[in-house]
Amino acid sequence: MMTAILEPLRLWARLALAAIHAQMQYRTSFAIQNAVMFSVVVSELTPVWILAKYFGSLDGWSFAELALLYGMVGTSWAVVETALRGFENFAAYLLQGDLDRILLRPRSVILQVASRDFDARKLSRVAQAVLVLAIACASLRLGPTSLAWVAFGVTGGMLAFAGIVMGGAAIQFWTLGQASELQNILTYGGAAAMTYPVSIYATWFRRVLTFGVPLAFVNYFPALAALGRTEAAGWPAFVPWLSPLVCALVLALGLAAFARGLRRYESTGS
């Protein structure tokens, strides 16, 4: 039983280390890129900081509270982006025949796709998101219960984003890579939209984020619970508790869609 879990993890780690080794070949460039990746946080949070500084707050959310939202969704997405990178590039594997090679090997397809194109620089994105999250939690003086809600949301977010990238890859089986950029709307765009409280959006957009692609359950509801504001925001107190359930459902749908596409797959004949 343990080997069944450990074996794939060890394989993933080996593939990731091989990728890091390859990327270290251009050493200076690797260092600069890591430093730059780290400054992404500056360029993404500065506009929010400037606006919050000038206007005071956004619909009652202070800058520290907005940073909490950013840190939560940022951490979930950065972890998934690093660990499941191959799903984002999946269209290329379909078109160029790499998938045939993957299918020939006696290892899990999901695992092999996940660790392909592992990008070591993305690790610094994880680090910066965690850093923002930690500073936000510290400056808001969150207690143990609130911190548990934050952890709850971040974990759920990883499941949800994993489901989204798998679903996005699954769609490529049908569209043959032509829509590969559209899943960026859900991932990068979704993460950008969730930097702000869902309450500021127009009704239709709020509905999409709550019921359509339920990213609100990744950080908005858990953050409301952590700040003790669920009912003040007009939601029943049980809504944040639904987070893990909803996020697991997104993952299940993504996995099912990917498995279905894989069954349907006929090689390009390469």
């Binding site: 600069i32 890129q33 360029s43 005071g56 939209a193």
Partner: protein, 267 residues
């Protein structure tokens, strides 16, 4: 005049290369629109909490961001990490350029103008007009608008210079990916992509006004939004002109040095 012709060809070919990927452009329009809808609502929420801040109505902010989002690809704020000068140096493809009687900087500049023209038609037009319809806003028709083409052309020129300088690291180290990603982040931040520079804290505004990055987005975008007039407009255009010339001179100097130093790979 004869020597201008190859560059016109480069511009034309760059236009055609982009135009070949029609579906990719429409996906791009969809992505632009998504970010537009998100940030427009964020700006509306902020600006409604204090209407008339610095003479900006909430809809001025939306108008500003719409222009900024629609011009991103025209000006070339985002980096194409797959095919650019640095990548040609890394793979050794640069040798075909070295065998030609051309200046590589001028080729890059010409191509950027070709790409800019394509994105003006295929990206700016649907995104900007779509935003105007969606939010029911329109830019104020002021005489200053006549200067918009000038500001935009200079913005593309400054952007080409910044790109070239970032890519030119590859002459010395074979790769410039770090510098290129750095350029994207500095450009979005000090170019005022999301928030107009007018709302930046004074010290940050002062830095942004000196450095070249505001020439790529802020100047043409604020002008199109009707928020740049009088002395500020003159300063904006002179600032653009200065940096266009300075970056061109620096690019040509580095090209001369870099090509002497370059050992092309491949073969």
């Amino acid at each position: 005049v004869g020597s201008v012709r190859p560059y016109l060809q480069f511009a034309r070919l760059a236009f055609q290369r982009r135009a070949a990927y029609r579906l990719a452009n429409w996906t791009g329009v969809a992505v632009n629109f998504f970010f537009l809808v998100v940030h427009a609502q964020v700006l509306l929420a902020f600006f409604r909490s204090r209407p008339g801040a610095l003479g900006w109505s909430p809809y001025d902010a939306v108008l500003y961001f719409s222009a900024s989002e629609a011009l991103l690809m025209v000006v070339g704020v985002f980096t194409d990490l797959r095919s650019n000068l640095a990548e040609r140096v890394r793979t050794g493809e640069i040798v075909t350029d070295l065998a030609r009687p051309i200046t590589i900087y001028c080729r890059e500049l010409a191509e950027r103008y070709g790409v800019a023209l394509y994105f003006m038609l295929a990206r700016f037009t649907p995104v900007y007009l779509g935003a105007l319809v969606l939010y029911g806003v329109a830019p104020p028709l002021k005489p200053e608008l006549l200067l918009f083409p000038v500001a935009l052309a200079l913005a593309v020129g400054v952007s080409a210079g910044l790109w070239y300088l970032a890519c030119s690291s590859a002459y010395f180290r074979d790769t410039a990916n770090g510098e290129l990603s750095a350029l994207v982040f500095v450009n979005t931040l000090l170019g005022g992509m999301v928030v107009p520079l007018d709302f930046y804290p004074d010290w940050l505004r002062a830095i942004a006004d000196v450095l070249p990055f505001r020439a790529t987005l802020y100047t043409p975008v604020a002008l199109l939004t009707g928020k740049l007039g009088g002395g500020a407009l003159v300063f904006g255009l002179v600032h653009q002109l200065f940096w266009f010339a300075a970056l061109a001179a620096a690019s040509l100097a580095i090209e001369a040095r870099g090509l002497r130093r370059l050992a092309a790979q491949g073969g």
